[in-house]
């Protein structure tokens, strides 16, 4: 793509009551990303065009949208991946209810976050410190990279195609959070029962759509969801674990701090 190419930006305009795509012919300069073009439309042609954004550097996860049908961060989608003259369709993420234009109501994710039982650290070392080694925090740090863009939630067909599943399904973003807590070297809380029941881990049939769209490259399916599924299976279905529990009379530890 050369500087000064012209593109047609086909942008969704409307709210919960309805709407339509509107075309804008825009000049695009070198290095511009989709969000730059949206801002230019705002400044020059549609002052009330609703869009969320903050950092413009892929760090805050605010500007999620569906660009030519693909869930992406608009700030990290360069215009030079498209052919000059091409029509580029910008739609709001589909899985969440539309507020206006490119802005959706993502409160689902914040409500689900309230249900996650809190971090509950074990006692400190005898010398009063917390000792953890890089090798053991590495895998959890991968999960902490999540910028909460909710693209994984958007693309997850459990809720994308079946909104009726939402009450009983937390979604990939929250599974990453559960995994971060479950694998935290200091944590002692138990969330496996919740994962099995209210968070609906079993709904996920590991199609890896979430992993594919993660702008942080988190291996959501392989490193978070599958290990959680294994833990749940071990906890609830493993005959050895069941037998041990019966023989020793030890009960499952229970989660606390859930919701608030």
């Amino acid at each position: 793509m050369t500087a000064g190419s012209e593109f047609t930006m086909r942008v969704w305009r409307g709210d919960a009551s309805g709407g339509a795509f509107q075309d804008f012919r825009m000049d695009v300069g070198e290095g511009m990303v989709v969000l730059d073009v949206i801002h230019r439309i705002q400044a020059e042609a549609a002052h009330d065009l609703a869009v969320r954004w903050n950092c413009k550097a892929g760090k805050c996860g605010s500007c999620s949208a569906e660009v030519n049908g693909k869930p992406r961060l608009m700030c990290m989608t360069r215009m030079d991946i498209f052919e000059p003259g091409e029509t580029i369709t910008i739609a709001p993420v589909k899985t969440f209810p539309l507020i206006k234009d490119l802005v959706t109501n993502v409160s689902f994710n914040y409500e689900k976050a309230k249900e996650v039982p809190a971090f509950k650290p074990k006692a400190k070392e005898a010398d009063g410190t917390r000792r953890m080694y890089q090798e053991e925090v590495d895998r959890v740090q991968e999960f902490h990279k999540c910028i909460e863009c909710f693209l994984c939630q958007d693309v997850c067909h459990v809720i994308r195609d079946h909104p009726e599943n939402k009450p009983a399904f937390a979604g990939p973003r929250l599974f990453v959070r559960y995994a971060a807590l479950e694998m935290h070297p200091l944590d002692t809380n138990d969330r496996l029962g919740l994962l099995k029941q209210r968070a609906g881990l079993g709904y996920c049939n590991i199609t890896k759509c979430c992993t594919e769209v993660c702008p942080e490259g988190i291996h959501i399916t392989d490193n978070a969801i599958i290990p959680l599924k294994e833990r749940v299976v071990t906890e609830f279905n493993d005959p050895v674990v069941w037998l041990l529990r019966t023989v020793t009379g030890r009960k499952r530890k229970t989660a606390d701090g859930a919701g608030s």
Partner: protein, 600 residues
């Protein structure tokens, strides 16, 4: 706009405006003190500017260098701030930062580790020892997420995408705040005994900036309008390393961690030019040759710090001088080199988001190629004048913490001292706001007339036919500040800026917005313009008042520091709609602390 039935009303003991690090920490503390607390933020929770902080949190934990302690941190902070800091804030900050970092760990944060399993600390500009607790180059994300999740688990009421426009008063006291929901455009009134401002900075008044759309100086302007003192608003930090190419990414932050981890600045001749810009003030502690500078990373006892890690004001000015002398990079910056200095694995591990950012946005592989960087508006050291211990402003019931508050960083902030500032003074703001609210016998009264006047002003862009485009007014303000009140300043240009700001204020009276009140960014910007024009004017007037060069404030017409100005804050007040600027003496450093400053 008629009666009060047109907006919803909430009542709290403490409301916290802003949900970055300072706001979150304040809300957590106020709530822990038993105050009914609300946290109100302009964006979604977890998207505030703190999320973009990269390098780390400065705290003298002494995990890497046991020699480190609060006194050294205090000394570094004071010297980095060119002694214009409020000494007591800097002392509290240095003393309490380690506890605040360890507290984050108790709440689930996972910092990078030392070999012994403790929190690893990295080198940063102006810090004598490796002092910054960090997570790669995404420390702000770790911090905001930890605080966010802790606040959620504590059940604190959060009002997201809710923007406050006006502080309300009952006589001299704070009685609440008034604003609107972004989603619906509907008004919302908070009646509150105390208000904590944690609204961040003002960088959106400049064209080249690391700051997001939220950084429009709302808290600063609201405090000023409510009668609070501002100090040292001329002290704006231009971070030396922002991206310069391509144009659409100009200004995006490149962490100082690149230099902390071994990166070096070079000009178009390939020369490490920072050795030519070591000022006498820092000569005793700065390496004057490449060999010593490179050896310093591993051996701080026998070597002095590399000049690449001089405080930010020094480095930004040096880059500016190199570019002016014709030794810049092709797109008007200089080069930042980590590719030839560290191996690719190390770079990707230590600086993953820089690697990603340059690869995706500029098509540059920083493990193989040089980065092009230049100064970018980053941070305001000045702000609301606060009591060092309580963060109380000069208006009863109004507290301020984080970037919106002034004094802590003096004339120049050291990297890493911001995140620690947020935690230390965020906690204190929450604590003292709750104490204040709990001690208040009766809730202050909200003046309906004040609320209605605010509502009328907010709706006016819909009701007039002036035809001014809010985006155009904003763009012209950014160009004005970028050209005339930037890194290097002179009186005639700043006078010109004042004339332009006056003209922009006139245009603001004719700004018109289209569409309705539902999620309307044009309208939101029209309302933010009042704040941005206010802080632009205050910054410019303060910069005219300070006839010297110090820290982030460089005057070509007064190129040297002047001890007379080094002893004063530039104070701004608004009375009956008129700004007044005056000089008032800095709090005096106690004699017992002075020897610490002289230690080499």
């Amino acid at each position: 706009m008629a009666a009060a039935d047109q907006f919803e009303t909430h009542e709290y003991d403490v409301i916290v405006i802003g949900a970055g690090g300072a706001g979150l920490r304040a809300a957590i503390e106020a709530s822990a003190q038993g105050a009914r607390t609300a946290l109100i933020c302009k964006s979604l929770l977890g998207k505030a500017h703190t999320v973009m902080a990269e390098g780390g949190i400065a705290a003298a934990l002494g995990n890497v260098w046991p020699e480190d302690n609060w006194k050294v941190h205090w000394r570094d902070t004071m010297r980095g701030g060119k002694m214009l800091n409020n000494w007591r804030m800097a002392q509290i900050h240095a003393q309490e930062a380690p506890d605040r970092v360890l507290e984050l760990e108790e709440w689930g944060a996972l910092f990078d580790r030392t070999k012994d399993g403790l929190i690893l600390q990295r080198d940063f500009g102006g810090h004598r020892y490796a002092r910054l607790a960090h997570v790669g180059d995404r420390t702000g994300l770790e911090m905001i997420r930890t605080l966010q999740q802790h606040a959620v688990h504590k059940g604190i009421d959060v009002f997201m995408e809710c923007t406050m426009q006006r502080l309300l008063k009952d006589g001299d006291r704070i009685s609440g705040a008034f604003g609107y929901w972004r989603e619906s455009g509907r008004f919302v009134l908070f009646k509150s005994k105390a208000v904590v401002l944690a609204t961040g900075g003002i960088g959106k008044a400049w064209r080249v900036t690391t700051n997001s759309w939220e950084y429009t100086g709302d808290g600063t302007a609201m405090a000023l309008d409510a009668g609070a003192d501002l100090i040292d608003m001329e002290m704006v930090q231009f971070h030396p390393t922002g991206m310069v190419w391509p144009p659409s990414v100009r200004g995006i932050l490149v962490t100082e961690g690149v230099r902390g981890d071994g990166g070096t600045l070079k000009n178009s001749d390939g020369v490490r030019f920072m050795f030519n810009y070591i000022t006498p003030y820092f000569a005793a502690e700065t390496a004057d040759n490449e060999q010593e500078a490179d050896a310093w990373y591993a051996d701080k006892k026998n070597n002095r710090r590399t000049p690449d890690l001089l405080p930010r004001d020094e480095v930004a000015r040096a880059i500016n001088s190199e570019v002016k002398a014709g030794r810049g990079s092709p797109h008007g910056g200089v080069f930042l080199d980590i590719a030839t200095r560290r191996d690719p694995d190390y770079i990707r591990r230590r600086l993953p988001s820089m690697y990603h950012q340059f690869r995706e946005l500029a098509g540059v592989d920083i493990t193989k190629e040089l980065m092009e960087i230049g100064p970018t508006c980053h941070y305001v050291m000045g702000g609301v004048r606060v009591d060092a211990d309580t963060t109380a402003s000069t208006v009863p019931g109004l507290f301020a913490a984080g970037e919106v508050a002034g004094g802590m960083h003096g004339a120049n902030r050291l990297g890493g001292n911001s995140l620690s500032d947020l935690l230390v003074f965020g906690r204190r703001a929450g604590l003292h706001a709750a104490e204040y609210a709990n001690a208040l016998a009766a809730a202050p009264r909200v003046d309906d007339g004040e609320v209605e006047a605010a509502a009328r002003t907010m709706l006016s862009p819909f009701e007039r036919a002036g035809g001014e485009n809010p985006y155009a007014v904003h763009g012209d303000l950014q160009d004005c500040m970028q050209a005339l009140v930037c890194l290097i300043r002179v009186e005639p240009e700043m006078q010109q800026a004042l004339e332009k700001i006056a003209a922009l204020n006139e245009r603001l009276q004719h700004v018109t917005v289209e569409g309705n009140r539902q999620y309307n960014p044009g309208w939101h910007l029209a309302m933010d313009l009042h704040s941005m024009l206010t802080v632009a004017e205050v910054t410019t007037r303060s910069a005219l008042e300070r006839k010297e060069s110090r820290g982030g404030h460089t005057r070509d017409d007064y190129p040297d520091p002047d001890p007379k100005f080094g002893a004063v804050n530039v104070v701004t007040r608004k009375r009956q709609g008129q700004l007044t600027i005056c000089q008032e003496p800095l709090p005096a450093i106690p004699d017992e602390l002075k020897p610490i400053l002289e230690e080499k």
